[in-house]
């Protein structure tokens, strides 16, 4: 609808078309004491959308531990902040861009990356790393090859161009994502501790500045769209696709960081979901103040945009700044140097109201606090799905006849195949900080000018989460912390992206609550606070929901980088040690799921004290420099983990395990395989004993083959051939 046209009259049914319930409509009328204008309704529907208000998840999110000795800024700002030492802090967050990516994969993924980067540099931090956590459907599902190719190109196209390395991520494939893929992007930046910026407006009379790209009719109501299930009709009300401009972002990034150094900035906020609406209301809301905007000053890309459209546009690469009165010029100078315009579009007021002027008339006049701080909250009723008992009943586990064949088949599934095809399309080494890029358990970045490093890992197992959300939530946290420990990193904090279905259905709310409960328990036990995050609900198509997918990205600290183990075998004649217990746990295992299509039974139990002991031990051993190789056991169990260790340098191994072949594929948690020089074996075993971690030498590295001798069977495979199959499986499956 264009600015020229008359605005429709506001009532409950119009509110509904904007995704607002009747109660919410009435509540707004009550707050205003009158019928809202069309613009006011649009603004409110965006602010109260699930995406912006977290109205269905907040009550559960409160459970997550957000305190810790490293935490400087927990949830609530644009991104979380943790102390790294030596005066440095790390700023990070993860966010979803699921729906846009399903509609237009390249631009959806690209703008997802752009958005999360802005969340980080808005805080005054220079982004130094990206992760992308991707969930696709079955490769043969309609449009899926197109979606996979588009998303990967989009992540690379934006990240590579903007010059921030994509150092890791994860990629999963499951039927449940056929109609609703997940694209979760994580960004991490670093800053000097004293240079952190917030989005808290202050000082009535201070000017409000607009910088960055012009405003078009892009993604209007993207925020509400992200809060609705997919249905054919969402095709109809499809907003103008947001197109990312990584070059504009790069310039904006440099200009913002430089301007923040000038001291002329009071606050800065990126225009993300619900663009100018959320940025202006959040800045005013956080400061307990008001704001006056003159939309006639906003630089437009298209003619005749209405106040409604300008306030709700989600055009990318834009920022809102509050400057110290009289110091605009200092800021403008910086932006001009970078070829960017700065426009004053309003000022901070002490009225506590948002006054929006457009075309000479007042388009909106709303009290800020009631809309932001006291947005509607729902504790929606939760209840497990009716067939949970059947779902969790112990599955029939077909015994493994030929372990070699099973391993080979597992490693050729897209799920367990090498993700090289993806991450070779990403620049993972620009900025020359990447000590360990994609391919291992955790990525490792050095901090130039210090001895320190940061480790990153993103994990979740949706099948576990489906079968038992609480265990699944705990497992996601445990695996990410375990991955950090494999490089010796101590957890600083984590961010999450909670992808779920429609919370208005009790089983979905139950999944959400249970996953958060499990995550909270694991965070407490493993001493890793949640400092930021994002919730993406309504991930379903025609009533079919995705598996609960609480993606977790953990950030860890390394105080030295000279004892870093590799994720693969580095040399022959090293001793291989297996840490942890062998139980027979096949519920949700790759073995049953990928080879037999069975997704049933309880997932592997998560013994948090065992996890805590394991990661403590690993951190100690790595710090002592006695570990040459470390890799945790995840999907596919010990057989897959050992194979992955062989692939890096093509060094084989001979291993003896007192297990029946089937158990080689059990997914018992709190386990890891490591290799060390013979001289260090005693230390490793002794320390494990002291730490109370079951440990035994199981073999040694070397030779062209991976040999696993089990009870009544085993396998012996040529590493070169196996690696070739594994590393080409994904492009082959994609038909490339």
């Amino acid at each position: 609808m264009s600015g020229a046209g008359v605005e429709p009259t506001v009532d409950r049914s119009l509110a509904r078309t904007m995704g607002m319930s009747e109660e919410e409509h009435d509540r707004l009328v009550e707050i205003l004491g009158r019928i809202p204008s069309y613009t006011e309704l649009g603004i409110t529907s965006a602010l109260w959308s699930e995406h912006c208000s977290y109205k269905s998840s907040k009550v559960f999110l409160r459970e997550l531990p957000t305190q810790g000795r490293h935490v400087i800024q927990g949830p609530g700002e644009n991104a979380g902040v943790v102390d790294v030492g030596d005066g440095w802090v790390a700023v990070f967050k993860m966010e979803s861009h699921n729906h846009p990516s399903f509609i237009e994969p390249y631009q959806g993924a690209a703008t997802g990356v752009g958005g999360i980067l802005r969340d980080v540099f808005t805080m005054g931090a220079r982004p130094i790393a990206l992760l992308d956590s991707l969930r696709f459907g079955e490769i043969d599902a309609p449009r899926m090859r197109y979606l996979i190719d588009g998303v990967v190109r989009g992540v690379g196209g934006y990240g590579n161009c903007v010059g921030v390395p994509t150092v890791g991520g994860e990629t999963g494939f499951h039927r449940c994502y056929n109609g609703n893929i997940l694209v979760n992007a994580f960004a991490l930046g670093v800053a000097r501790r004293e240079r952190i910026f917030t989005a808290k407006a202050s000082g009535p009379g201070n000017p409000v500045l607009y910088v960055g790209s012009r405003t078009g009719r892009d993604g209007i109501h993207g925020a509400t769209m992200a809060s609705e299930s997919f249905a054919a009709e969402s095709e109809a009300k499809r907003p103008t696709v947001q197109v990312g401009d990584p070059f504009a972002e790069r310039i904006l990034l440099e200009a913002c960081l430089e301007a923040m150094g000038s001291g002329a900035l009071v606050a800065i906020q990126d225009m993300g979901a619900a663009g100018l609406t959320s940025s202006s209301f959040e800045m005013a809301g956080r400061g307990g103040l008001g704001i006056r905007l003159d939309l006639d000053q906003v630089p437009l890309r298209q003619k005749g945009m209405s106040p409604y459209e300008i306030m709700l546009s989600e055009s990318q690469e834009r920022m809102l700044i509050v400057a110290h009165r009289g110091r605009q010029e200092e800021i403008a100078k910086v932006f001009r140097h970078w070829g960017l315009e700065v426009v004053e579009i309003g000022e901070v007021t002490d009225t506590g109201r948002a006054e929006i002027w457009g075309g000479g008339r007042r388009a909106a006049d709303i009290p800020v606090e009631p809309l932001t701080e006291s947005a509607p909250l729902y504790r929606r009723p939760g209840a497990p799905r009716g067939d949970l008992a059947r779902l969790q009943a112990p599955p029939e586990v077909p015994p493994v006849e030929d372990a070699g064949a099973v391993l080979t088949r597992l490693l050729t599934t897209p799920e367990l195949a090498s993700k090289e095809w993806i991450y070779h399309q990403y620049d993972s080494s620009v900025r020359t900080n990447t000590v360990a890029g994609p391919g291992g358990d955790a990525a490792v970045l050095r901090l130039k000018g210090t001895q320190r490093g940061l480790a990153l890992s993103s994990d979740v197992n949706p099948s576990y989460c489906l079968l038992d959300p609480r265990t699944g939530g705990a497992q996601a946290v445990a695996e990410s912390v375990r991955n950090l420990a494999m490089v010796g990193a101590e957890p600083l904090g984590l961010t999450d992206c909670l992808n779920f279905g429609n919370p208005e259905r009790p089983e979905i709310t139950w999944q959400l609550a249970e996953c958060i409960r499990g995550m909270s328990e694991a965070c407490r036990a493993l001493e890793i606070p949640v400092v930021s995050g994002n919730v993406s609900l309504y991930n379903e198509t025609e009533g079919r929901s995705i598996h609960p997918t609480p993606t977790v990205a953990a950030v860890g600290l390394l105080t030295r980088l000279d004892t870093l183990p590799s994720a693969s075998f580095e040399a022959p004649a090293q001793r291989i040690v297996l840490l942890g217990e062998d139980r027979r746990e096949y519920g949700g295992s790759a073995y049953l799921r990928l080879l037999y299509g069975i997704e049933q039974g309880l997932p592997p139990a998560v013994d948090l004290s065992a996890e805590a002991r394991l990661v403590k031990l690993m951190r100690y051993l790595v710090s002592q420099g006695v570990v040459a190789t470390a890799h945790d056991l995840a999907e596919g169990g010990v057989a897959v983990a050992l194979a992955e260790c062989c692939f890096g340098r093509g060094i084989g191994a001979r291993v003896r395990l007192p297990l029946e072949p089937t158990a080689l594929f059990s997914e018992t948690q709190a386990r890891a395989v490591l290799a060390c020089a013979p001289g260090n074996l005693e230390t490793v075993l002794a320390e494990a004993e002291r730490a109370g971690v079951p440990a035994r030498e199981v073999g040694e590295t070397g030779g062209p083959r991976l040999e696993i001798h089990a009870e009544g069977g085993g396998l012996a495979l040529d590493v070169r051939d196996l690696r070739a199959t594994w590393s080409t499986a994904l492009p082959r499956a994609l038909g490339l």
Binding site: E104, Q107, G216, R217, Q242, V243, F247, R301, G339
Partner: protein, 84 residues
């Protein structure tokens, strides 16, 4: 038969390429350019000799592959005789 398909970003869609190229032209002193959109073009050689048939096929190619109609619009040209 020869044919040309031209694909451009829809008018309402942001065109970073066009924006950057226009800027570069201005820096080079070409100030008489008030607007620039950057698109793709495809020159095809078709085996069919039937205009209508060619037109139909090209339209289908555009819808299915050559253009992403979500963000792009396309034009089909079937010049009477070959290219100048």
């Amino acid at each position: 038969m020869k044919a040309r398909v031209t694909v451009f970003p829809r008018p309402e869609v942001l065109d970073p390429q066009g924006k950057a190229i226009k800027g570069a032209l201005e820096r080079l002193g070409f100030t008489a350019v008030s607007d620039l959109r950057a698109g793709k073009s495809f020159d095809l050689e078709l085996t069919t000799a039937d205009r209508g048939e060619a037109e139909r096929q090209l339209k289908e190619m555009c819808e299915k592959l050559l253009a992403n109609t979500l963000v792009e619009r396309y034009e089909i040209e079937l010049p009477a005789e070959g290219w100048r």
